[in-house]
């Protein structure tokens, strides 16, 4: 809306001016270029955080050795950095990057709307991520600060987090605006591809919930830096304030686009039209709604009524299981009907998208068990298990999406077999870690919320056996991520040129023609040329 819709042409200088590689990288406002920047940086943080997770599990297994962590406080800092990086610096950026590249193509827009704001969002996130990590490395992070210099480092981490959130929200606003107002003629919200649909649902929920996380950070910052007149008592309990982002129900909101990825891949791979499309729209929307988690903050519990024992919290945790099962069933039904169209070697993205849905189902089951009070799993390693399974599902789906749409985005073929191995390793690692951490939860092993955590681990011999398997899982997760990075690097460097539509896709992102939006009712021209049904 507004004058953007009717503005005269801007200066189209992309092809007219010669830029160096660095200039193009830094100044580009093309959605493809910005999307690739998101994906590449997200992959870097994925490798780093999965390596860190591996080191953390070594320490958990062998508590006598702290490796790079000098003491238990430092261990906690890196433990919280690992979670923050996996979600805010790896998973969300990779998904945003994919959406930046794919969504405008899927809905027939020739670019992202507000491209400069989208570039601004990326750079804000990029610099904020750097400041956040620097804050952690400078002895800051989310622990209780002691000295003055440590307070400064914690404050630096918090302002970095604020920039990260602002960057993500800015980019998501651009994406949502594109989907809502940049669609081509005839493409109602009911008809948009499911990846774009799940981006609307998850993007809306990110915008609704991430500012709450920002408010948590501001509250703590005020406590750290404010005068004594303003004191909320949150500076010593920073992690307790922000930990709601990494557990049920909020964690589901971050991986919601995996449903769209699976539902876009499976029907095309099996050459079958997706049945009950409207039902999938509703189910994925509802799954997003139950994932709204800004209310579930134990820090703000009223005495006597902890939020994690309230009906809403428990019911949403339990409801997530049938919803995820129904979504999986929808994909399996399509697969069953189109099984005859598959060869002996089904496409890697198809296999990986199924694995990601299975991981999601496992995550929701662990989440439901964790929320049921008699099991007493709330503060145990079941929390870690749910996070690992759910985030693992998101990462595997991202690998599937890169193998699927990568040929369209990058224009080069990748080694699908190696991509499949990478995704399968990540899935196996997440599953192994998730299951063993769940068992440890039942054994009563605390999630890292107490200072004597490591001592407790060393005294629990049974738990230690399962920690070993969790450590193996973290190793597989890291190896899978590293292999995937190599696969993508080799694709960019040595990959042969790909076809326009290698999978025989039927949605707009696979069309060769550039869709030009030339009126308030876009795609009139395309409609006249090829007929709206063909589009």
């Amino acid at each position: 809306m507004t004058t953007t819709d009717i503005a005269p042409d801007s200066v189209a200088v992309d092809g007219q001016q010669k830029h160096t590689f660095i200039e193009r990288l830094v100044t580009s406002t093309s959605s493809l270029s910005i999307g690739k920047s998101w994906i590449n940086t997200g992959l870097f943080y994925l490798i780093s955080s999965s390596l860190l997770g591996f080191f953390l599990d070594i320490v958990r297994f062998d508590t006598d050795r702290y490796l790079i962590f000098s003491n238990v406080d430092t261990f906690f800092q890196f433990w919280s950095l690992n979670r923050t990086a996996l979600v805010l610096l790896a998973l969300i950026p990779i998904i945003i990057g994919l959406a930046m590249c794919v969504v405008p193509l899927q809905i027939g827009a020739n670019s992202i709307i507000f491209p400069r704001a989208a570039a601004f969002g990326f750079w804000l996130w990029f610099l904020g991520a750097g400041i956040t990590v620097f804050g952690f490395l400078a002895d800051g992070g989310f622990g209780a600060p002691d000295s003055g210099s440590q307070q400064e480092a914690v404050a630096l981490t918090l302002v970095g987090l604020l920039l990260v959130i602002t960057g993500i929200c800015m980019s998501v606003i651009c994406l949502l605006t594109t989907i809502i107002s940049g669609r081509c003629m005839g493409m109602s919200l009911r008809r948009i591809p499911l990846f774009s649909w799940t981006m609307i649902v998850s993007g809306t929920l990110w915008i609704l919930t991430l500012p709450v996380l920002a408010a948590n950070a501001v509250l703590t910052y005020v406590d750290l830096r404010g005068r004594s007149a303003i004191y909320f008592g949150s500076e010593d309990l920073i992690w307790e304030q922000i930990s709601w982002v990494f557990t049920h129900p909020q964690i589901y909101v971050f991986v919601l686009p995996l449903i769209g990825i699976a539902y876009d891949i499976v029907p095309v791979a099996t050459k079958i039209r997706q049945r009950n499309h409207d039902l999938v729209l509703i189910l994925s929307g509802l799954f997003g709604v139950i994932g709204f988690g800004a209310y579930a903050q134990p820090f703000f519990d009223t005495p006597g009524t902890p939020v994690r024992e309230e009906a809403l919290y428990v019911v949403t945790a339990v409801l997530a299981v049938p919803f995820s099962l129904l979504l999986l069933a929808g994909v399996l039904e399509t697969l069953r009907m189109g099984a005859r169209n598959l060869t002996r070697h089904p496409p890697a993205p198809l296999v990986l998208s199924l694995l990601s849905l299975l991981l999601l189902v496992s995550g929701t089951i662990v989440g439901a068990l964790r929320a049921i009070e008699p099991f007493e799993l709330i503060d145990t390693t079941a929390t870690t298990a749910q996070m690992k399974l759910t985030i693992g599902a998101g990462i595997v789906a991202a690998v599937a999406a890169m193998l699927w749409w990568g040929e369209r985005i990058i224009g080069k073929k990748s080694k699908q077999g190696f991509g499949l191995i990478a995704g399968a390793l990540i899935a196996t690692g997440a599953l192994l870690s998730g299951l063993t951490e769940t068992i440890n939860g039942f054994l009563g092993l605390d999630d890292f919320t107490k200072v004597n955590f490591l001592e407790k681990v060393s005294s629990e011999s049974t738990a230690k056996v399962f920690i070993f398997f969790s450590f193996i899982g973290s190793f597989l997760f890291f190896v899978g991520s590293a292999i995937f990075l190599i696969v993508e690097f080799l694709r960019v460097r040595n990959g042969s040129e790909s076809e326009v539509n290698p999978w025989g896709g039927h949605t707009l992102e696979w069309t060769e023609e550039v869709v030009t939006v030339s009126s308030e009712r876009p795609l009139l021209d395309i409609e006249e040329k090829v007929g709206v049904d063909d589009v």
Partner: protein
Amino acid sequence: MLTTGFKLWFGLCVLMVVAAVFAGYTTGGTETGPISLGWKGGVGNHVVYTLLMLGAASMAVMGIVSQAFRDSEPEAAIELLGVDEVPEAQSTIGNSWWPVFAALGLSIVAVGLVVHAAVFVVGIIIVVAIGFEWTMTNWSEKASSDPELNSELRERLMRPIEIPLIGALGIGVIVLAVSRILLSSSALGAVWVATVVGVIIFGTAFYISKRPSISRGLIQSILFVGIAGILIAGVISAVIGERDFHHKGPHHDEKSHMDEKE
């Protein structure tokens, strides 16, 4: 005809009114209070109700303005621009430095909040300057339907401001950096530094003047390396601090007089 803008703003207005009424009833409002703007009973939580109702009123005003000025109405655009058909809805935008510089400015503001007030102020100045530049770029792109004319218009308007300001800023920073280098060196070292830097600058200028066909990229690289070297050396020198000086100021004289009296 109702414009797209009007529909959006009106929809938001309705949404906010509904939210306000809902908030009113769920926070202790009476039966008729929330739906009568508090005329017949209480509205519940006053702050939330008032904020949402004010928001709704703002949306309504935006909707009326949008309708009154026929915003985003194709026929109005055709009339205004004097063209036969509406231009592209999504125009292509070229590369831009403003997003990265704006992000850098905001990051400096954030770091300045923690580290030092001076850094914070520098960040604010950068954000304001980039905000102004970005606004002018956006304005110029919509000034007419001719992209080249728009680009020229921006150049004519902004270059007389940009070049002297950036030049003065650049000179100031380089002078500051060089002064830090000289002040941190010994007395003899400072003479050597000044001599060597002078010879390098003179030699480079001589080399460039003798090669008129030298590429623009090479000159840019030489300048970049030179300026970056001076800035890095300046920052390192500032961290090291100034050398010890034998002051001959009033304090020294006073002390001498006192010695004499004793």
